[in-house]
C-alpha cells in the first residue's frame, strides 16, 4: 500500500477536481480509513494481521463506513457515508496499482481469499513519486488561492465606494 501522504494527496486532488458534493474532511478520512484501522494494529501486534485484514476489503470498508457515518448528525449522515465510501474506494483503487511478490488485495473476501492487483509499482516505489504529488497539490492550492483573491477584489472595491459615498 502506498504511504498515507500519497493517499491524502490523491484525495485532495480528486476533491479539487470533483463537484462540491465531496466534503474535504470526510473524504480525506475515507481515504486514510483502510490504513489507519489496520496498519498501526498489526505493526504493534503482528498476530492480529489476519483479524484486521477484512477492514481493508471492500465489504469491510462498506460496513466500517456505515458505522462511522452513524456518528454524524442526521442532516450530514448520508453525505458522510457517500464521502467515506468515495474516499475508501479511491484508497483501494490506488492500492491496486501496486505489485507484491505474494499477497495482493482480497477484493471478494469473505467469499474467497484470492487476491488481485494491477501490478505497476512496488510498494516502496510510491515514495519516489511523492514529490510529483506534492508539486501537483501545491499548484492546485496556489491556483485556488489566486482564484479566491481575484473573486474578493471587485467586492472590496464596491464596499470602498459605498463607504466613500456614505461619508
Amino acid at each position: 500500500m502506498p504511504d498515507l501522504l500519497t493517499h491524502v494527496a490523491t484525495g485532495y486532488l480528486v476533491r479539487s477536481a470533483a463537484p462540491k458534493k465531496l466534503h474535504p474532511g470526510i473524504l480525506i478520512l475515507g481515504v486514510i480509513l483502510p490504513d489507519i484501522v489496520t496498519r498501526p494494529i498489526y505493526i504493534v501486534w503482528p498476530d492480529a494481521y489476519w483479524f484486521v485484514k477484512p477492514l481493508h476489503t471492500p465489504l469491510g470498508l462498506v460496513l466500517l463506513s456505515l458505522a462511522v457515518s452513524g456518528l454524524f448528525v442526521p442532516r450530514d449522515r448520508q453525505r458522510a457515508l457517500i464521502n467515506l465510501l468515495a474516499g475508501s474506494g479511491l484508497h483501494l483503487a490506488l492500492d491496486l496499482l501496486q505489485k507484491h511478490l505474494v499477497g495482493g488485495y482480497a477484493l471478494l473476501f469473505p467469499f474467497t481469499w484470492k487476491s488481485w492487483e494491477i501490478g505497476l509499482i512496488w510498494p516502496e516505489q510510491t515514495l519516489w513519486l511523492l514529490p510529483i504529488w506534492m508539486t501537483l497539490c501545491g499548484l492546485v492550492f496556489w491556483r485556488k488561492k489566486r482564484g479566491q483573491r481575484k473573486a474578493i477584489r471587485p467586492e472590496s472595491r464596491v464596499s470602498c465606494h459605498i463607504s466613500e459615498s456614505q461619508s
Binding site: L4, I28, V31, A67, P110, L127
Partner: protein, 142 residues
C-alpha cells in the same frame, strides 16, 4: 447518533474479522515451527511483518514477532532489520529453501511519511468538522 447503524456495522465487521482470523490463507511462522507436519515440502509464503535478523554464508535468519526461521538462499542486498517477503519450500528440518525474495527497502521511511500524512489528514478533519451533542457535524463553509 444512529446507534442501530453503528451496531449493525460493527457487528458485521466483528463477524468478518473473526472469520478471517480463523481461516487465514497462509500459516503463521509460529505455526510452521510448532506444527510443521502439514507444510513439509509444501510451498510457503512469509510476509507478515517479517524482518531479516542475521545473515550467514549459507542463508539468513528471519524473524516474525518472537519466532525465528532459517532460510537457505542468497540474502542479496538484504541487511539485518530489513522487512522482507520470502517464498520457498519448507524442508523437514523446518528451514526454508528460498525461491524468491522481495526486500522492502525504505519501509521505515514510508512509515514516517505516513505519520505525516495522518497528521495532515487530522488537521483537515478538525478544520472541516465539529463535535456537537447530537454527533459530528460538517462545517458548511468547508
Amino acid at each position: 447518533m444512529a446507534i442501530r447503524r453503528i451496531v449493525f456495522g460493527l457487528a458485521g465487521l466483528l463477524g468478518l474479522c473473526v472469520y478471517a482470523y480463523w481461516t487465514p490463507p497462509i500459516p503463521k511462522l509460529a505455526d510452521l515451527l510448532n506444527r510443521p507436519e502439514p507444510y513439509i515440502n509444501q510451498p510457503i509464503e512469509l510476509y507478515v511483518e517479517t524482518t531479516v535478523e542475521r545473515i550467514q554464508p549459507e542463508g539468513f535468519w528471519l524473524r516474525q514477532r518472537g519466532a525465528r526461521m532459517f532460510v537457505r538462499g542468497d540474502a542479496g542486498e538484504a541487511t539485518p532489520g530489513d522487512f522482507v517477503t520470502v517464498t520457498g519450500v519448507l524442508l523437514p528440518d523446518t528451514t526454508v529453501a528460498m525461491q524468491a525474495m522481495y526486500i522492502g527497502k525504505g519501509r521505515r521511511l514510508k512509515m514516517a511519511v505516513s505519520a505525516v500524512g495522518a497528521l495532515l489528514a487530522l488537521v483537515v478533519m478538525v478544520r472541516s468538522m465539529r463535535l456537537t451533542r447530537n454527533g459530528v457535524e460538517l462545517k458548511p463553509d468547508a
